[in-house]
Symmetry: C2
Amino acid sequence: MFKEGVTKKEVYAQVLEQAIALFEGQKNWVRVHYIFVSTIANDFLGLSNLSNTASLLYHGLRSLPSPIGDVNWAGFYVLDPKHPNQLILGPFHGQVACQTIQFGKGVCGAAAQSGVTQLVTDVEEFPGHIACDSASKSEIVVPIVQDGKVVAIIDIDCAELDGFDLEDQAALENLADILAKSCDF
Amino acid sequence: MFKEGVTKKEVYAQVLEQAIALFEGQKNWVRVHYIFVSTIANDFLGLSNLSNTASLLYHGLRSLPSPIGDVNWAGFYVLDPKHPNQLILGPFHGQVACQTIQFGKGVCGAAAQSGVTQLVTDVEEFPGHIACDSASKSEIVVPIVQDGKVVAIIDIDCAELDGFDLEDQAALENLADILAKSCDF
């Protein structure tokens, strides 16, 4: 799907274009209703679309030259309906990953707690880094914010140092905005 | 995680062992409550566990020699809460896939409708085959049955003909049983 020799700009344009096309097929949404321990809130999750978006990101970025071509994990964590300060693993591509992450813990937890993108050139330098996969050397985590609240994160790991730059950040923040507007998490 | 030179038996043993370990961590379940158009039913989905199980299957099988080492898609479709005769895409590893599949359509739809594993040596020979990825040449689809009802399917594609055998079928039916017992879909 992603040809050899494409640029990062072209990859992200394709990812966004295809993501928007996927999200427009509203009938394909899995509408799920989270059960809280004590309260019931109407939350919805686009399972099919997150599954396909993880595939698009992973294969798209891996079609690029190193370092970003060495992306080894791409996917989502979503807010745990039972523990509001915890993320749970969503659809992804890559090696088996941590099932839960506390807010504030590691790169994902920092993004979830602060609501601010974490662009980490060397994960070993990041305080409290969680090494789900020891192959990961750099990471970008972009919060998906709805009504001022972090509802999920996009998490991408790279097996090379300094895998991500401001172009990745801008494109992924754009994707996060699209996801925030397209789905009621 | 999966070393070179392992046997299929060892791979499935690891997948099952790790899957059981994952499923025992009940706290990691995403308990979701499907909203039907007219009724509300208590259905639950282990999102995190399905995500990790797809990764285990994909990477485990790809560590084996050809033909099964050429697995190009491994994941789940789950029953669409809004359309009881339709499957929707769940977590997977591989190229972007069809978001919905009607019961009775193609290999997945046949397994969902019949409740019987479909072991297909050549997908081109299968009536009504849905070619989500033209690279796929053989396929195995195992229904996950709960209280006599198909609630999800395990779907694995291979880029070679005749990719799967009765050993795969037995191991995957075992996994399907574990999933059926571990989660309320």
